[in-house]
């Protein structure tokens, strides 16, 4: 993989390629197996989308015991005087209405805060955030177009 090809692929995924990705993609480049290259770059790629949930969703995702503990904790915080009380009071209200959007950036930030103070474990936080994640594969066309430009091929 030369520098131009690497830069082109990093432009497609908007990040640096990992060492493993470079190793896997290198043998695919001479024959330009772009579909396979796109598959490699797509591993683990997700995007968040609007996802409205309620308490039942949390029970299914986290299990009864963990969800019950979590919901009890945030209801107590929401009823208290801490600086988290106001934002969590809204979260509780939306949960009660089955309309808490766990794909919303502000809600994700609150999940991060709850994880930092120990209300949620990192694993539990991942479970909740995963509810709003959907695969975001790289298109073969995007890979092809980027590599064609990098390699100086006649194309678009």
């Amino acid at each position: 993989m030369n520098a131009a090809q690497k830069s082109a692929l990093e432009g497609v995924v908007d990040r640096e390629l990992t060492v493993l990705e470079v190793e896997q993609i290198d043998p695919l480049l001479p024959d330009r197996m772009d579909t396979q290259i796109a598959d490699i770059l797509s591993v683990g790629r997700v995007r968040t989308k609007e996802t409205l949930i309620g308490e039942r969703t949390l029970f299914r995702a986290m299990g009864m015991a963990q969800a019950a503990t979590f919901l009890g904790t945030i209801r107590n915080i929401a009823a208290g005087e801490s600086e988290l009380a106001v934002p969590l009071s809204y979260a509780v209200k939306w949960l009660d209405a089955d309309k808490l959007d766990v794909g919303d950036a502000q809600v994700i930030a609150q999940i991060g805060i709850l994880t930092a103070i120990g209300v949620l474990s990192p694993a539990q936080a991942s479970v909740i955030k995963a509810l709003a994640e959907t695969p975001d594969p790289v298109s073969v066309s995007a890979v092809s177009d980027a590599l064609n430009v990098a390699e100086g091929r006649m194309s678009l």
Partner: protein, 147 residues
């Protein structure tokens, strides 16, 4: 019966005998030769183009390789622009591919081909590369009255 219209063909010319890899969404020229209706085609206005192409990994069924022409000497010795997939200069036709990895031989008939042109093959989102070694041949085509 005499006087009915029959097809006549001229001498086949090889425009590309060993083409380079055509990556997905890219264009490669058949650069062994250009084709002139007057000098190569005997004045015949039409032509049959035939490719042989192989994909190492099967392409998406029904996608196409696009045949494009770059007319030459259209204003004195000035040529038209080289084609691109998004702007084919002179679109000639399409070769619809099969989702196989064996060599595919595909023909298309083009009417009123440019008087003189270079020809290019575009990989129009087949998803896979045409391996190097592809060929493109042209056979002049016309009609005449049977004797």
């Amino acid at each position: 019966m005499s006087g009915e219209t029959i097809v006549v063909t001229g001498t086949t010319k090889v425009l590309e005998a060993n083409g380079g890899l055509i990556a997905n969404n890219s264009v490669v020229q058949a650069d062994d030769a250009s084709y002139s209706v007057a000098t190569d085609g005997g004045g015949y206005p039409d032509a049959e183009f035939v490719i042989s192409a192989t994909f190492a990994t099967a392409p998406t069924e029904g996608t196409t390789l696009v045949l494009m022409a770059r007319p030459l000497d259209i204003d004195g010795t000035s040529d038209a622009e080289a084609p691109e997939l998004a702007r084919p200069t002179r679109f000639v036709g399409i070769f619809e591919v099969n989702d196989v990895t064996s060599a595919q031989y595909i023909a298309l008939v083009a009417r009123d081909v440019p008087r003189k042109a270079d020809y290019y093959l575009g990989n129009n989102a087949t998803g896979q590369s045409v391996t190097s070694g592809w060929t493109l041949k042209v056979t002049p085509l016309s009609y005449k009255a049977a004797a």
